[in-house]
């Protein structure tokens, strides 16, 4: 039988890879992929703990909600990224440094 520790360790590894991508990548879409990896690690933990709650099934239910919310997040984030690209001609988060109009 697969133990809970195995799932949690896999989740920890995925989460750290996600953190690495969010911090180091200079492309907003790759940062977004890093966030998705972290979300997936969290969902994996939810599913793993949900295995011990058959009747209320809270783990799997909230894993489903998390997946749906991830979809909503991605849709809005990509719309924002496309707008940023239209205005700045780059999607490097380090180069987007003004809140209002961009000059030059």
């Amino acid at each position: 039988m697969i133990t809970l520790t195995d799932y949690l360790l896999v989740g920890a590894g995925l989460f750290c890879i996600g953190i690495y991508m969010v911090v180091s990548k200079s492309n907003a879409i790759q940062v977004l992929i890093g966030i998705e990896l972290m979300l997936n690690a969290a969902i994996l933990n939810l599913v793993a703990f949900g295995g011990y709650d058959r009747f209320n099934n809270a783990g799997q239910m909230f894993a489903l909600f998390a997946i749906v919310l991830a979809a909503a997040t991605t849709a809005v984030a990509l719309a924002i990224i496309l707008n940023v690209y239209k205005r700045y001609k780059t999607i490097d988060p380090g180069k987007v440094d003004s809140l209002k109009e961009w000059e030059g």
Binding site: M1, L8, A12, C16, I33, G51, L64, A71, T90
Partner: protein, 182 residues
């Protein structure tokens, strides 16, 4: 070693390996396609945790929806941009990434430490669940259970999520429309 255990390690290896490839590769389009593999491997892990409905949802929403959206954003945000990013990464590979690697490794050490010290398989409520046979068995019918729970226990979160999805849909459509008021 049982078949389930073997499959679990294979899936975990594929998931972690492809995630590492996604993080390490310089070819951005290839990294997006490798992300497909990570998501499929994660769906396999959900199946092994007897969460088949979650696994199917993962494939339908992530692979069918989110990744297609990400690919669209890639195509729409210009190619010169991709080349530029690759060139920058080639030049400063060790200097720029060292802090990020350090942060990720430190966080990994902390997380692994927490998991090992917590010893999750011997937690009280988990032992109780196993003793009362309320853990998910290999033959339990979880999809039916999810359907019933969705319409009884979790009706309020379900409706809240549906409203939030609609708000996100309208917001995304408003943000990405043409015109200078956006």
């Amino acid at each position: 070693m049982t078949m389930v255990k073997l499959l679990f390690y294979a899936m975990a290896f594929i998931a972690l390996g492809s995630a590492l490839f996604v993080a390490a590769t310089k070819n951005l389009v290839r990294s997006v396609f490798m992300f497909f593999i990570t998501l499929f491997a994660l769906a396999g892990l959900y199946v092994l945790a007897i969460a088949d409905f979650v696994a199917i949802t993962q494939i339908v929403i992530y692979v069918g929806g989110i990744l297609v959206l990400i690919l669209f954003a890639f195509m729409l945000s210009g190619r010169e941009n991709l080349n530029y990013v690759a060139a920058v990464q080639n030049k400063f590979i060790s200097v720029r990434k060292l802090p990020a690697i350090l942060l990720a490794v430190a966080f990994l050490i902390i997380l692994v430490n927490v998991v090992v010290k917590m010893d999750p398989d011997n937690l009280v409520w988990i032992k109780n669940a196993v003793a009362q046979k309320s853990d998910i068995q290999a033959n339990s019918n979880m999809t039916e259970n999810i359907g019933i729970n969705l319409m009884t226990n979790y009706l309020l979160p379900f409706e809240a999520v549906s409203i939030l999805l609609m708000i996100a849909l309208i917001g995304a459509a408003h943000l990405s429309r043409k015109g200078d008021t956006a």
